[in-house]
Structures are given as structure tokens and as C-alpha cells.
């Protein structure tokens, strides 16, 4: 695949946002605002960074991506479908009985590397994969996307210590730092700041970026690959509900809610005009 340029990636992001909102609306439930905040990150991974082959899903040399914030799987599903892991028609079966697209990320989906949904477990799984690569003398890399609310889970910090202790430098994690969780602003629920200092003090290399700026995301993913002897955390500042003004204004309200049909039309128009 020729790597798309930034303009092409921006167009792709638009399509993914429309897919996400449409499939969620069709499902009648699911996690809207957190899916929108991580679109550029997931698109950049699958269209720019990951070494993978949709025609050979279990290719042993492939890079791995773990979606630890498993509730925002609609974004992953839309990207996997457009990337050719399964037909796009499947997107409209999200959350329905017998679907390959479960309500939270699951191994039943072609291309999905791990089942997640109970927060805090993905970074540990990614650690295990990265350590396996080392044992097998393979050079694949492991990427893991975490939510910011997810950082409340103690297991994340257990995994952070493990990765630093074992100097797992083939691991790159990303925080979708949209500053909001179900109950409201992270700063009101349980303050995460100083977030960069936390990861630094846990022995990680950190890179802080605008998580909606493709150039910054691509650059950060490239720089992470150069860091040796420690894992890298990309702190991606994002906007929960990004791309749809009325979702952005009430992001916690749309944390676990799909758009009604009338609102969907409005949202799709707005994205088209971006």
C-alpha cells in the first residue's frame, strides 16, 4: 500500500467518523464521544504506521494494536473494515446478535488482536506481546491505546512499571487524553495531572501532541520507534466528541449513547462540511 498523505488521511478520518456515527445509530446504543476522539490516532496507526497485511491477518511478523479502551471499538471496526479486514457491510451489524462486531472489542472480529472492555487490562496484554517478540527475536512493535479515565485503574500503573522494568522499547502506548470520563471532567473525578510527569517518573519516554493533527501523530509514532531502552507514551490531547459540535458540548452525555436518527443527519452534514 502506498502511504496516504495528510489530506488523504483527513478525508479518511471524515469517512470513519461518518461510519462510526451511522453504525452506532443503527445499533441504537454504544459509545459515541470517546469513539470520535480517537479517530485520527487509529487512522494514522492503520494507514501510516502498522506493518500488517489484511489478507494475512495472523502474519507472525505483523505489528500489534491493542485497543485497551475497548468501548470505543466502533472506530477500530470502521478502520479495519475500510482497510479490508472484513466487508464494510458488516459495520451495520454492530451490537446485533451473531455479529462479528461485539459491543466491546473482541477477538471474534477479524484483525482485532485482543478482547477488552473491562478497563485497565490492555497495556498488560501489550507488554506480554512485546516481551514475546523479544524472546522470539522478532522486530514487530506493539501499540496500545488507552483512555484517560482508564488511567484510574491501578493495573495500568502495574503494567507501566513492568514495561519500564523490562525496558520494553518495542512498545508504544497512546493516551486518548480527551479530559472527560462518564461522570464528567477527569480533573473533577480524579485529577490525572501532572500526567506527563507521572509517566516520566515511571520510566517512560513521553511525547505530547495534538491528537487530531495527523502530522504530529505520524511524527510522534516515528520518533517513538527511535527510542531505545524504554517504552514510549504518546500523550495525545484530544476533544471528546470531536467533529460534531453538539456531541462535543455534551460529551459525557454521549459517552454511552448513540445518536437518534434526526441528530445523525445533522452530525453527518457537519462532518461533511469540515
Amino acid at each position: 500500500m502506498n502511504k496516504p498523505n495528510v489530506d488523504q488521511l483527513k478525508d479518511l478520518a471524515k469517512e470513519i467518523r461518518k461510519d462510526v456515527l451511522t453504525m452506532l445509530s443503527e445499533a441504537g446504543s454504544g459509545h459515541t464521544s470517546g469513539s470520535l476522539s480517537c479517530v485520527e490516532i487509529v487512522v494514522a496507526l492503520y494507514y501510516y504506521k502498522l506493518r500488517h497485511d489484511p489478507k494475512n491477518i495472523k502474519w507472525p511478523e505483523r505489528d500489534r494494536f491493542i485497543l485497551s479502551k475497548g468501548h470505543t471499538c466502533p472506530t477500530l471496526y470502521a478502520v479495519l473494515a475500510r482497510r479490508g479486514f472484513f466487508p464494510c457491510e458488516a459495520l451495520m451489524t454492530l451490537r446485533k446478535r451473531g455479529s462479528i462486531l461485539q459491543g466491546h472489542a473482541s477477538l471474534v472480529t477479524p484483525g482485532c488482536e485482543a478482547s477488552t472492555g473491562s478497563l485497565g487490562q490492555g497495556l498488560s496484554i501489550a507488554d506480554g506481546m512485546a516481551l514475546s517478540a523479544r524472546l522470539d527475536f522478532k522486530d514487530y512493535r506493539v501499540y496500545c491505546l488507552l483512555g484517560d479515565g482508564e488511567l484510574d485503574e491501578g493495573q495500568v500503573w502495574e503494567a507501566a512499571m513492568t514495561a519500564a522494568h523490562y525496558k520494553v522499547d518495542n512498545l508504544c502506548a497512546i493516551i486518548d487524553y480527551n479530559k472527560q470520563q462518564i461522570d464528567g471532567w477527569t480533573s473533577d473525578i480524579k485529577n490525572l495531572e501532572p500526567i506527563k510527569d507521572k509517566w516520566l517518573s515511571f520510566g517512560w519516554h513521553t511525547i505530547e501532541i495534538d491528537g487530531h493533527d495527523f502530522k504530529q501523530i505520524m511524527d510522534a509514532l516515528d520518533r517513538a520507534e527511535m527510542i531505545k531502552g524504554k517504552p514510549t507514551m504518546i500523550i495525545a490531547h484530544t476533544v471528546k466528541g470531536k467533529g460534531v459540535s453538539f456531541v462535543e458540548k455534551n460529551a459525557p452525555g454521549y459517552h454511552g449513547t448513540a445518536l437518534k436518527k434526526a441528530d445523525l443527519e445533522k452530525a453527518l452534514k457537519e462532518i461533511e462540511g469540515l
Binding site: 507472525p60 473482541s106 477477538l107 488482536e113 485482543a114 478482547s115 477488552t116 472492555g117 473491562s118 485497565g120 487490562q121 490492555g122 498488560s124 496484554i125 501489550a126 507488554d127 506480554g128 506481546m129 512485546a130 516481551l131 514475546s132 517478540a133 524472546l135 522470539d136 491501578g154 493495573q155 502495574e158 503494567a159 512499571m161 513492568t162 523490562y166
Partner: protein, 313 residues
Amino acid sequence: MANLKPTRDGFGEALVELGKINKDVVVLSADLTASVRANWFKDKYPERFFNFGVAEQDMISTAAGFALSGKVPFACTFGIFASGRAWDQIRLSVCYMNLNVKISGTHGGISVGPDGASHQALEEITLMRVLPNMTVIVPCDSEEARLATLASASYPGPIYLRLGREPFPIITDYKDSYRIGKALRMADGSDITIIGTGVMVQEALKAHEELKKRGISARLLNLHTVKPIDKEEIIKAAIETGAIVTAEEHTVVGGMGSAVSEVLVENCPVPMRMVGIKDRFGESGDALELMKYFGLSAEGIVKAALEVLKLKK
């Protein structure tokens, strides 16, 4: 006196054997490396040994990551922390994905002794057997533990091995007949069947002798695999002997006795008694003294057998 060994020793010996024959075996520990006997593997294969410190949840999910990459991880810690502290990780990261993760919970049961209630795992069989895809194995002596561990490495899917720290004599002699899921008939009998698991098989063996002295012919089943349960052997025992006593060093709430009763009520209900911990926590004390105090003894089994025989039609 027979050679006494705890089941954790058989586990530790098997890990070393596995290290040699299976390069995909990795061992994960949570700061209790010598206690869980993972140190023998660590000394021989340090590059395949990983210590997580006191972080059981991270250890279990990381084991899932290893399994997703083709490794056969054995994650080891005390039973209470393995089955309790990391239950959600076992449920989602391991069982839901049906991964090849082997979990060894040592220090199971009241025979942990002086450490008291916080460390006496009495609930693991219940907690583990409710999880789809999980296999639950409770060896009765160190040799059986060794065979179970070796078999685990090539048996697909998640496995929980419940092990103990108190030494007991070796009472099994499998040669090459050990099979996960196949109960071992250790004595034949026609009046009643005693089904034991783990170290209670040791007491069941003594109870069998005591009953024999009283003219009662007791069959003895060693149900080393609680899940998948050997329905065939249990139903046969119910039909042929008409009364059942189960014996486990574990709570009777949802434990091995409950699993046996689930088979019986649907297939062949017969009078039954469960010997085990009766819905309470343990306490500190000498291991064998505690087992006696809680009725986890040959006497306890004989008493239950005599009661249940009175109910037999």
C-alpha cells in the same frame, strides 16, 4: 514414614522438565517465586522467567499477551491472589479469549495453617469453575501434581491448578495413565462412593480403610479434575453404589461437592453428604490440627458416610 512432599513441589519439578522440552513455556511470578516453586525453573531458564512484583492483575493479563503470541505461560502465585485478586483479568483476558494460560495457585486450602484466614484460599474451585472455558485441576499428591502440570502444557485453553504447601505422602501410581478430565478409581466398592479431590483424597483413602473394618464397601474416586467433570464415572458410582460423600479442602458453597451434586440431580439423584468448609473463613493454627478441627479428616468422612448410608433406600 513415607516420603512427604507438597503438591507445589511436583509442580515446580514439572516446570523444569517443561522448560527443557517446550521452548514456548514461560513462567510468570508475583514476588513469591520460591514459595510457588518457580525458582527451580528460574535458575535453569532465567530468560523465560518474568517477575511482576506484587502485581497479580498485571501478571495475568500479561500472560494473556504471551499466549496471544504463541507462548505457554504458567502464571504462579498464592491461590487466594490468583483466583480472587485477578478474577476479572482471568475472566476477560484469559477465559473469554480462551487462551492457553496456565494459572498455578499454591497455598490452597486451610492447610496453609498459621498464616490464617487472609491466606487460606477456600474459594478457588468455585471462582474458577464458573468461568466458561476454564479447566480446574486439584492434585492430591506431588506426583499427581507433576503429571497434571506436564499434561497442562499440551492441553488447550486456560487451566487453574490448585496446589498446596503442606507435605503429604505420594498415594497415586499412574505410570502413563494420567488424563485431565478422567477421574481415578482408587478403590472399588459397592455400598457407597467417596469422591475426594486434592489432599482430601489422602483422608478419603484412610476413611475407605476404616469403613472396610466396619464391613462397609466404599468405592473411592479421585476427582482430580473438577472441570470438565467426569460425569460418566460419577453417574456410574451413583447407580452402582447408591450413596455419595464428597470431600474437599474448600468451601462446600459452589465447590467440588456442588459440582458433583449438579451432575447427580440431573442424572441420578442419590443421598449425598459434602465434607468441606461450611461457609466460613479459616483461622490460624497448625495445618493438620486445623484440618481435623474443620472436619477435613478421615473421621469426618466416615461420619458423613454413616449418616448418608442411613438415608440409602
